[in-house]
Subunit: 120 residues, 2 copies
Amino acid sequence: MKENGVEKCDVSVIHNETIRQVKNKMPKEEKLYDLAELFKVFGDTTRIKIIQVLFVSEMCVCDIAALLNMTQSAISHQLRVLKQTRLVKYRKEGKVVYYSLDDDHIKNIFDQGLLHITER
Amino acid sequence: MKENGVEKCDVSVIHNETIRQVKNKMPKEEKLYDLAELFKVFGDTTRIKIIQVLFVSEMCVCDIAALLNMTQSAISHQLRVLKQTRLVKYRKEGKVVYYSLDDDHIKNIFDQGLLHITER
DNA sequence: ACAATATATGAACAATTATTCATATATTCA
DNA sequence: TGAATATATGAATAATTGTTCATATATTGT
């Protein structure tokens, strides 16, 4: 059975209208890829911890490392990822680099995430 | 330099008050792990697409596979992941299994995520 | 009971990724 | 200029993970 260019299984009760809706409402492939990339960034404990710390205050690399009890290198690598995704920004003061959050949505996303895992 | 059990670097200007705040506000290790696990689930294009499809309508496995142009096996594997994270639920009707979304927060999380990648 | 069909699942493989280690770069201060 | 320090980064390694393939399970109709 084939409708609307979609090969359907025998029992399928999916309507043409539904297929149309899916194709209309589904964000573009590239957008979905970017969205996945964003969530991938949140999908790591170290990066989540860094963000949690930055919720409290701007902070330099070595203090983040100290607070999270991890090596400076590991933190630096992850900060690069956060920088590339435009989730953190930084300012340099001499040899010290201070990082802070660069996105208003992060808190909302985290809160909703926490809601999900907290319930039940 | 050591304050509050945190080994700080020489230039650190981090205050005891900040350290206290971080330790107070930071969710428990286990909670952060679960949060990362949740975002990891969102961090895959296939799973994101499945969720997008289910935003429109409940759907059986083979129709999801057809719509996304992927094998039934691949979809089934990913649905298991979504099931385990309690993001989708299912009902069985004969040999057909219908999946649907099982979380009110997903839409919010996605919308915030899309906001982030859309801006700038 | 048998054939057909929908879904689930285990094993294998390829690809991705987080951390570590070594080292490079940049800045300050003596 | 040289030593000390903060940060960044490349390479290597170990661990995780998504898809495929083969196959198992469950259900329906004949």
